[in-house]
Symmetry: C2
Subunit: 459 residues, 2 copies
């Protein structure tokens, strides 16, 4: 008789079409979190998961009221108190399907064309949730699962996971675990399994400057009153030095430097050379902090970027106004161990020191997320690395990622649980866009590798 | 029998109420140039002036088709070929009356309350046109007018006199004159007659920067692609040095310096101290080019001010976009002998030298006007200065003004005619606003001083 691992793999292969049916059922529920008219579908998607987890034999299966969209919770603590507890993270909400007319098949129905399965959420991330459920079902059916399992599947990821920080903090005992699995981090290419161990954080600000009490006539006051738009430009300009480093006081103090091993690993990553960035951005050359490659700057170094500017008259033609106000939206991507609150204080200190005394200013932090770095040599990272290597035949790449997944930092900070960030979505999957799709061979390998991962956790 | 000058003054005093009736007739025609629904009223106002000038005995009275609103022309060359020819400039168009609900009496009807006469155009500048017509009528009635007179009364001043440059150039023989009188320049206070001998010019630009081919995700590209909004801020910041001087190459080369006499004269001007600017602008302190007073900076030195900024996302909340484009409206107030075209070249040279090579840029000049300085000791300036002193009992102040009256520079450049810029409107007249008004005692003195001016021109 085959060992449980092989039995589980066989089970998964035998049940692929049923798993795809389940994915179709979940995709058919338009659980769009951004639009309140879909609230009943949000609840239906959560209930679908509750029902599925109950069928798998999970206990304490329930929806948790976060105040926003509910979290689906379940656990199965049958591996014993000496076995590790894994929290599987996922989200059942999806992006809106607009513009509908650009879809070549209905967004809320899976449609296979060749090796691709189209439908909203197939890649981000209902397909990943179904893959995780499939792998767990296969292992539970085969037996000898060496890990306790909890599920935390939220419904607000596409709208910023705004309920998550407070909710995880308030329910830290319920979610307590040794590590988490997050299959929402994707991979670099179909032949390139990927582990994402670093995510950038975010500190997003609005800066408001006020000069004169009202808009003035530039003919009567030009050259004599400090213009808040000119002042804003001067302040923003001063936020970088001539090496393109951010000048906010203390900005780099808590930045964990890139080590040699990481920088060597990054060189293995395909399509991330400077010329790739040039091509993708449609520019003739790059810019950034001296001493780093484009990939390093975009994933592993902190930034300060203007996201929006508004002042004075912006309509057609000339209007000779000396504006009373000027506004900038400015955000910093952060890396471990920078904290948004600290960066806010640094920005305030900068504004205090540099703003013209006749210009009033206000800094508001309107969004924030912690950065995170996971250990690359933990038991679970080694288990996942080996699983991916087994299935793909090549070692996964360890990469950092320039964007933010706030929940990863919450789990780290509030539960002390590091995340294994992987997944089987591809860069070309059109997530958040019309004709979202997933690559079926990659998804099938994904299920196999999650099964290997589970058995690799056996100590 | 009294001399002609005294007879003319007496005539003006005897006919004041008729002059006010005429002003009421002209105010009653809502000749709003900015709104094409008032086009028939524009033409009616021009016809009213044609009729009036014919009644005064002027010749060649006509409306001239400029392509836009017509110019009213007339002449009376009876003083002989040795006498100077004066071109009286004016405009019969007015600003819109909105918001109507803020008017305390109907805008297009003159209403006297105490010493004030309310109505759109009473101050800017139908009142000044009627005062000029009244003075000329009085002198023609009294006889011995020592000057040939031409009229050029336009209908587009409130919308930028856009037809004037080409039209004056094309009709330079018709408008040929020795000097011009422009009673649209106002005075500083009821007890302070004023001659405006310097007006600033304007060079108004739009700067468009383009970075990446499309808006990018700041998480994926932040720190590695030059952000056009950051670049715009850097470029604008660099347009002033640490003495708040404009850094465009060659910007000050053709600036006529203020002389000692002018700076001494400026100190006599009431309510133009630094504290007055602070109060009027509603700021806690001032800013500007080192070495000059606020008044000098606002009237007699060139400037560079941002009038508008727009880039990226400016709506509510955070959006982590690295914008593809950034735009600034920037205008320079110019002083003699700067030329808008030269400043455009200087700005282009600055952009060429300083813009990041991966950011495309475009500079468009969307409005321009030459600066002007008139001689303070010409025959006509002395004649007007003496006239004002006779009526007010104190010497007029010679001032420069921070705004632009483009036609003054056109007359100088195209006809070689310097303008005597004066007028009897006051800063508190609410021009361009609801409840526009004029101060009747000042207006009456204005008529008298224009009569004295005419007779003072006798050589």
């Amino acid at each position: 008789m085959a060992d449980p691992r092989s039995k589980a793999i066989q089970f998964a292969h035998d049940n692929r079409s049923r798993f795809l049916d389940e994915l179709d059922q979940l995709v058919a529920i338009p659980s769009v979190s951004a639009d309140s008219t879909y609230k009943p579908d949000i609840l239906r998607a959560a209930e679908w998961l509750v029902s599925k987890l109950k069928n798998l034999g999970f206990e304490h299966v329930k929806t948790l009221d976060t105040g926003g969209h509910p979290i689906v919770y379940a656990d199965l603590m049958k591996a014993g108190s000496k076995a590790p507890t894994m929290l599987v993270y996922g989200h059942y909400d999806v992006q809106p399907a607009d513009p509908l007319e650009l879809w070549e098949s209905p967004p809320f129905k899976t449609t296979q064309r060749g090796a691709l399965l189209f439908g909203r959420g197939t890649s981000d991330m209902k397909g990943q949730v179904i893959a995780s459920l499939a792998a767990v079902e296969a292992a539970l059916t085969a037996g000898s699962v060496p890990v306790n399992i909890k599920w935390m599947i939220e419904g607000e990821e596409e709208i910023g996971s705004s309920s998550m920080a407070d909710f995880i903090k308030a329910n830290d005992k319920l979610f307590a675990c040794d590590f988490a699995l997050n299959p929402d981090a994707g991979m670099l290419a179909p032949d390139q399994p990927t582990l994402t161990y670093g995510l950038r954080g975010l500190a997003y600000f609005e800066i408001h400057l006020t000069g004169p009490a009202m808009d003035l006539h530039s003919g009567f006051f030009g050259g004599t009153v400090r213009n808040p738009a000119n002042e804003l430009a001067r302040l923003i300009s001063g936020m970088h030095d001539d090496k393109n480093r951010v000048t906010l006081p203390g900005f780099y103090d808590s930045v964990r430097p890139l080590d040699k091993e990481e920088r060597a690993e990054f060189k293995r990553i395909p399509h991330t050379g400077d010329s790739d960035y040039v091509r993708e951005a449609g520019v003739t050359g790059l810019w950034g902090e001296a001493g780093y490659t484009a990939f390093e700057r975009a994933t592993s170094r902190p930034t300060l970027e203007v996201n929006g500017l508004l002042s004075g008259y912006t309509g057609e033609g000339p209007k000779t106004v000396l504006p009373a106000k000027a506004m900038a939206k400015i955000s910093c991507r952060l890396v471990a161990d920078q904290k948004p609150k600290q960066v806010e204080q640094q920005l305030v200190a900068y504004m205090k020191e540099h703003t013209h005394p006749a210009v009033k200013w206000e800094v508001k932090m309107i969004s924030d997320a912690d950065a995170s770095i996971s250990k690359r040599d933990s038991r679970e990272m080694r288990a996942m690395s080996k699983a991916l290597e087994t299935v793909w035949g090549s070692k996964p790449i360890f990469r950092r990622e320039g964007g933010s997944i706030p929940v990863v930092a919450y789990l780290q900070d509030m539960l002390g649980a590091e995340c294994v960030n992987t997944g089987f979505g591809l860069p070309e999957d059109h997530i958040h866009s019309p004709n979202e799709r997933m690559h079926l061979p990659t998804w099938e390998k994904g299920i196999d590798s999650l099964i290997h991962f589970i058995y690799n956790l056996e100590s």
